[in-house]
């Protein structure tokens, strides 16, 4: 059977000694980063990408993926112990998880999060195994109009699922698309937005832009907050769950997995939205919703499963369509391009060892995290006592060295500084950087497909409506946009993001 053949191929790659080591290193580093507030997985990945140029593509992806899902685990640890979510995807976990910790049930909350994440991680890897090949086969028949439509859907979904103003998020997407086009035009070789600078012939360096927006800007924002961290110095006991606990969490975990997997596959979804959705779902289904916010175990189990499931299934659109669901996937696409692999459905066929090696390594990584996390929690929490004012100079200088490292040019360091300042302005104006970054990555690809489509149709714009798949996708995007403007939907959206 095809599935077994793929899995066998995958494990033959991911179980080699060096790839296991990269998986372990990624998961460990991810857990650490996930617990540090102020530096998220996107900035960390951007920092590490230049260091992975020399690795074979599959090892590089195994490690980078490990950092991403490791960060989901790590983020929940600080959310529960300190009410400091390291990542946005664990914001809701902080509500009831920390409440449990205050009642002396920290061990139980951590175990719930770990078990939920593991179950969700395992089930969503199966989804990846079964769903990716058919989706890629479908996408192989796509032409330029269909790809253009898929990208529109992806970007619109990113906007509607983001919190905050829809119009501003749309504007951020368009701005990202525009700046993504900077550099030499692929058809004519004309220089665009280079301001006469030879260094901009290839556009703004993606890694420097990401580190600026998500690393440097975050540092400046954190400097505003003078709050000190409060510790929970209590000893952690009782990291095991009783049968009654397991019975209480099994349904929330499964529901969270389903919700997270679906939202992860949707372009624009991913871990953060998934956890919010699961929290709302559990609260809606609970026989006594008033327990929520006061240490309800379902409110930890559901969102923690959902964010891990979402983190993993967001690889599906990235691998099969070349569409990023979130900034981390946008970076993964940039890595594909750097490694000389064209993103799109061909990746599944031409890079079978890469794809299946990566997917199987994600399951191995989940096992590593489960084994690693619970015994090491004591050590992790001690690391958290490092105060932020000792930490941020390191983050800044790493970002500077990292951007210099891309092509040994000080110019990329200035790009980093520029986008750090821009990112801080975005934060101040409540303009989300994530839609901007998705647009930035997709800009050149989108223009390419737009041009090709109209070249085929000899300038006739109805090509997007006469091709049924493209028309259906664009219609769905339009419907999603119109829906967000309806008062009833707007109310639900505000409710869903209220917990933030």
């Amino acid at each position: 059977m095809e599935v077994f053949h793929n899995l066998a191929l995958g494990f033959s790659v991911s179980l080699t000694f060096s790839n296991l080591a990269y998986c372990f290193a990624g998961a460990l580093l991810g857990t650490f980063i996930g617990m540090l507030p102020g530096i998220g997985p996107a900035a960390t990945l951007a920092l590490l990408i230049p260091l992975t140029f020399a690795l074979p593509p599959v090892s590089c992806f195994i490690m980078l993926a490990g950092i991403y899902y490791g960060a989901q685990y790590g983020g929940s640890t600080t959310a529960i112990l300190l009410k400091l979510p390291g990542e946005t995807s664990s914001v809701v976990t902080a509500i009831d998880g920390h409440e449990m910790a205050r009642q002396g049930l920290a061990g139980k909350a951590l175990a719930t999060a770990a078990v939920g994440s593991f179950v969700a991680g395992t089930l969503s890897v199966f989804l990846l195994v079964f769903c990716s090949p058919p989706l890629a086969r479908l996408a192989l028949q796509f032409g330029a109009p269909e790809f253009f439509a898929v990208m529109v859907v992806g970007l619109v979904a990113a906007v509607t699922l983001a919190s905050g103003s829809v119009i501003k998020a749309l504007a951020m997407v368009v701005l990202g698309l525009s700046l993504g086009l900077a550099g030499q035009d692929i058809f004519f070789g004309a220089y665009r937005l280079t301001f006469g600078l030879a260094e901009l012939a290839d556009g703004f360096d993606f890694i420097a832009v990401t580190m600026g927006l998500f690393g440097v800007a975050e540092v400046i924002r954190n400097l505003e907050e003078k709050t000190r961290r409060s510790m929970v110095p209590r000893k952690l006991e009782n990291l095991w769950l009783s049968w009654a606990d397991l019975r209480a969490i099994v349904r929330p975990v499964l529901r969270g997995t389903v919700a997270g997997s679906l939202l992860g596959i949707l372009p624009g979804g991913g871990a953060a939205v998934a956890s919010f959705a699961s929290y709302s779902l559990e609260k809606g289904l609970a026989s006594d919703p008033s327990r929520f916010g006061k240490g309800a175990i379902e409110a930890v189990a559901g969102p923690e499963s959902a964010n891990n499931a979402g983190a993993q299934t967001s690889f599906i659109p990235m691998l099969t369509l070349g569409i990023p669901a979130n900034p981390v996937m946008a970076l993964m696409i940039a890595v594909l391009i750097i490694q000389g692999i064209t993103p799109g459905p061909e990746v599944m066929i031409k890079q079978a060892t890469l794809v299946w090696g990566l997917i199987t390594s994600m399951w191995i990584g989940n096992v590593i995290l489960l084994v690693l996390n619970l015994p090491l929690i004591g050590l992790w929490t001690r690391l958290l006592t490092v105060p932020y004012h000792l930490l941020f100079p390191a983050i800044l200088v790493f970002c500077a060295i990292g951007s210099f490292n891309v092509s040994n040019s000080p110019f990329d360091v200035y790009v980093l500084a520029l986008f750090g300042a821009i990112g801080y302005i975005f934060i101040k104006l409540e303009c989300e950087p994530a839609p901007f970054l998705l647009g930035f990555v997709l800009g050149p690809m989108m223009e390419d497909h737009f041009r090709r489509a109209l070249l085929i149709s000899k300038g006739d714009f109805t090509i997007f409506l006469t091709h049924p798949i493209a028309a259906a996708l664009l219609l769905a995007a339009a419907a999603a946009l119109v829906a967000t403007l309806l008062p009833s939907v707007r109310k639900v959206r505000t409710e869903a993001f209220k917990e933030e």
């Binding site: 701005l175 440097v216 200035y414 300042a421």
Partner: protein, 147 residues
């Protein structure tokens, strides 16, 4: 004229609209072409028009609905952090890796008021050594250490 009702969104809208004009101007410097044979300026121009429209919509909304004011701008933090990064870029080729890291860390330390001189010096020394060990010794970053 009353007070501005939603300064945050008004500024966002003005930023988008201003950038749209800049981007449209840049796109018009290049040949637009036609839809069937698009020139390099076509797609950027379309995007700039959309951005301008969205910017206007944000401005209009900011005049209709009240919103929160801007929170305080952390000038000291912004300037010193940006300066720390620019200083790294400006010194790495001329003076080498170690002075660049040292200068960059020193400037970024000034961004926070919570440092005592001795711990600051210790942190600078530690980070210079750490960056050398990780990036130059460990990962073989091809840079000169001094000069």
């Amino acid at each position: 004229m009353g007070r501005i009702r939603d300064p945050k969104n008004l500024l966002s809208g003005l930023l988008f609209a201003g950038l749209a004009i800049l981007l449209a101007y840049n796109a018009l410097l290049l040949p637009l072409g036609t839809a069937s044979r698009m020139g390099p300026g076509y797609f950027p121009f379309v995007l700039a028009v959309i951005l301008g429209g969205l910017g206007l919509a944000v401005i209009v909304n900011s005049l209709r609905f009240a919103g929160e004011g801007l929170s305080r701008f952390e000038w000291r933090g912004v300037v010193l952090v940006i300066l720390a990064i620019v200083a790294f870029g400006a010194t790495i080729d001329r003076f080498g890796f170690i002075p660049a890291v040292g200068l960059s860390v020193t400037l970024s330390l000034l961004a926070s008021a919570q440092h005592r001189p001795l711990t600051a010096l210790a942190l600078i020394a530690f980070l210079v050594a750490f960056c050398w060990a990780v990036f130059v010794w460990g990962l073989g970053l091809p840079v000169r250490l001094f000069g």
